[in-house]
């Protein structure tokens, strides 16, 4: 007498490069959640991924938003167990009352904990905090053939490693036990330090990396700036502020694409110039919520691309190749007359495993208008990436194919093999996993 109802739902990746109507269900009981063992399925959080990793023509999407409860909380141990569908927003406001917070969070609060695990996201200073895996103590994973499994660094470690940053391909994350940090101050003192170029940014970031809690840059790579990348480094340190107001955000439908595209080659230059002059020497005290989730105030940014959307290209380049990469990028961007609406840099450290976006070096992020010259530029960069030992963030790139990924990710074949060993029938599939032949 238990039925899991299915609807056809319009879903798109945030970059709007993959969209359509897909089979979708939103179970609200464990019986329904754990009942599907016949068809291919793929779990979904808030559907806020840049790429199509929570839906596919051949899979049933299982949306987890109804599973958003707190199951265990200990303030002294600083641990919390939450169901995978809980959003960072809900968690933030709960933890704030106890002066606790999750130290590693992506830029948007609507994202779920399940999504953070599946993408093994990074925060505002990966150099200091590492990836989201550092917050995870253990996970309850469900797979139709294996049942429910507790996975952690101590128990079922191989499945744990496949699941962290595993794009939801190993099963449904039911709950996760997370490590929290003490929130000693409720605000962040943000200062902006001007930089002249992309490479100047990379060298300055390297020097500053261990001194700030929040560290990233904004660079202007619009045609008028001649693709050099002047901009500013955003540096943040925790501080206390008596006046701390919270922003309230809508929980659903976060990005409405405008009917027309406000970002064009011409407007990008103007918008970026204005943004640079307004922010280049700014110092301000912002509430922690705003510092952790800067996209809350900037969510109209995505709408400005209109219905054609955008491409994001995020690469991790080892320090010794940074200068060469910056020169090559400026050269290719000039040649292709690229339209880049946003460029940012961050410093990373750590070791790379499977398909996780991790390693030692500088992360460059570029948002391109979705047009043929952008595609051509990304294709040319792809070809050079293996010379730089660079990797692309697969959670951000809607066009990268199996051939390129297998070339740039040393453990691609190993991930592929281990995933098949764990799940020979490949129950969990998405448009993304099919594109990469996973």
């Amino acid at each position: 007498m238990n039925e899991n109802k299915v609807a056809l739902k319009e879903i798109s990746s945030v970059d709007l490069q993959t969209q359509g109507k897909f089979r979708w269900s939103q179970p609200d009981r464990y019986k329904s959640l754990l009942s599907n063992n016949k068809t291919a399925i793929i779990p979904q959080g808030s559907a806020l991924s840049y790429v199509a990793n929570s839906f596919s023509n051949d899979s049933l999407t299982i949306n987890m938003k109804r599973f958003d409860r707190i199951l265990f909380f200990d303030t002294t141990q600083k641990k919390i167990t939450v169901e995978a569908g809980i959003t960072l927003n809900k968690l933030y406001f709960f933890l704030n009352k106890y002066n606790l917070f999750l130290p590693i969070q992506p830029g948007y609060p609507g994202i779920t904990i399940g999504g953070c695990i599946a993408a093994n996201i990074h925060g505002k200073n990966q150099y200091n905090e590492g990836l989201f895996e550092n917050c995870i103590e253990e996970i309850l994973l469900f797979h139709p053939k294996h049942g429910e499994l507790i996975i952690s660094k101590q128990q079922n470690q191989e499945i744990f490693d496949l699941t962290i940053g595993g794009f939801g391909l190993t099963g449904i994350i039911i709950w996760a036990k997370l490590r929290l940090s003490l929130l000693e101050e409720n605000s962040v003192n943000i200062t902006h330090e001007p930089v002249d170029s992309l490479y100047d940014t990379a060298t300055k970031l390297q020097k500053l990396s261990s001194s700030y809690a929040f560290l990233y840059s904004w660079n202007d790579l619009s045609p008028n700036s001649k693709y050099k990348g002047r901009g500013f480094i955003v540096k943040g340190l925790f501080t206390n502020s008596p006046k701390n107001k919270f922003l309230l955000i809508p929980e659903k439908d976060l990005f409405y694409p405008m009917k027309f595209n406000l970002f064009t080659k011409q407007t990008i230059s103007i918008i970026n110039q204005i943004y640079y002059f307004l922010n280049s020497n700014k110092t301000e005290k912002v509430p922690l919520y705003e510092a952790l989730f800067p996209f809350v105030k900037k969510r109209s940014y995505y709408s400005l691309f209109g219905k054609t959307g955008f491409w994001e290209y995020q690469v991790l380049i080892p320090h010794n190749y940074a200068e060469e990469f910056c020169d090559l990028f400026s050269k290719l961007a000039c040649q292709n007359k690229a339209s880049i609406s946003l460029a940012t840099c961050k410093i990373f450290r750590g070791s790379q495993k499977y398909l996780n976006f991790n390693g030692e070096g500088i992360v460059f992020t570029f948002d391109f208008l979705a047009n043929p010259s952008s595609l051509e530029l990304m294709r040319q960069l792809d070809k050079k990436l293996s010379d730089f030992n660079g990797i692309i963030n697969l959670n951000k790139d809607s066009r990268i194919n199996h051939e390129t990924v297998s070339l740039i990710y040393p453990e691609f074949e190993l991930f592929h093999k281990r995933l098949r060993q764990f799940d020979p029938q490949r129950f969990f599939q998405s448009d993304f996993s099919k594109r990469l032949k996973l």
């Binding site: 007498m1 039925e3 109802k5 299915v6 609807a7 056809l8 269900s25 939103q26 179970p27 609200d28 009981r29 464990y30 019986k31 329904s32 109804r66 409860r69 707190i70 199951l71 265990f72 909380f73 169901e83 709960f94």
Partner: protein, 242 residues
């Protein structure tokens, strides 16, 4: 305040549990889905510091006296009984199987009557609220969801009997005819009339406590739809395909 929610595992029942817990109610969550109410109880205890107890009850099982005994032993006095549970089959049409007929009537009607009868002496003595949930599906008979609509119409009738029989003026009865709500019951269906959230419904139910409401439409616009449907001559009504 002490409240019992029958059908607390999901949808309106869960939303009601969250809102009552936030208002400081002590709760007994009742459902056959033990795992769901267990998770909900943990969540409510952590977030609202509420006293939340669980009671596993399959609505096929008519042994409702156990819930009264348990409720009184845990809470001493019960102020509110919310009868939220409901079930609808995709194969609910004339000629459907006996299994579906029995299960639909058990969950939506028989168990509710048994529960009301079991709790009636307590509420007659101490006062409080008994809240029932009906459906706009029972406004007028149609070929779809016929067993469910029959059960809901009969339940509505029984609630009228309950109101008529109560003698204690501190004992209130509320019965709501619900329109389209965003629950698993309406999931994936194309609706001609807008749906409302479970939070909207639970807010209204809480606001309606301590009142006698015989057949109150939620959301309110269904009152107009209901009137039109009821007044429509059979010649036209029989041509409708919905």
């Amino acid at each position: 305040m002490n409240s019992i929610i029958v059908g607390a595992s999901a949808g309106i029942g869960r939303s009601l549990a969250e809102q009552l817990a936030s208002l400081g109610h002590n709760l007994i969550l009742v459902s056959s889905d033990q795992r769901d109410i267990d998770c909900l109880a943990k969540d409510l205890s952590i977030r609202f510091n509420s006293k939340v107890e669980l009671f596993s009850l399959d609505l096929n099982n008519k042994n409702t006296e156990d819930l009264v005994t348990y409720g009184l032993s845990v809470l001493n006095k019960i102020d509110n009984l919310f009868l939220i549970a409901g079930w609808i089959s995709n194969e609910d049409y004339i000629g459907t199987s006996k299994e579906i007929i029995n299960y639909t009537l058990d969950v939506n009607l028989r168990s509710m009557i048994f529960l009301i009868n079991s709790f009636y002496p307590h509420f007659e003595k101490t006062g409080g609220n008994i809240v029932g949930i009906g459906s706009v599906a029972s406004i007028r008979g149609r070929k779809n969801n016929c067993i469910y609509s029959t059960a809901k119409r009969a339940l509505e009738f029984y609630f009228e009997c309950l109101r008529h029989s109560k003698t204690n003026s501190h004992f209130f009865v509320q019965f709501y005819r619900l329109g389209y709500v965003q629950t698993q019951m309406s999931f994936g269906s194309k609706m001609l009339i807008p749906t409302v959230t479970t939070n909207y419904i639970s807010n209204k139910i809480i606001a309606g406590l301590e009142k006698d409401l015989s057949c109150h439409y939620l959301p309110f616009w269904w009152r107009f739809v209901g009137t039109v449907l009821r007044k429509l001559p059979w010649f036209f009504y029989s041509k409708l395909n919905f």
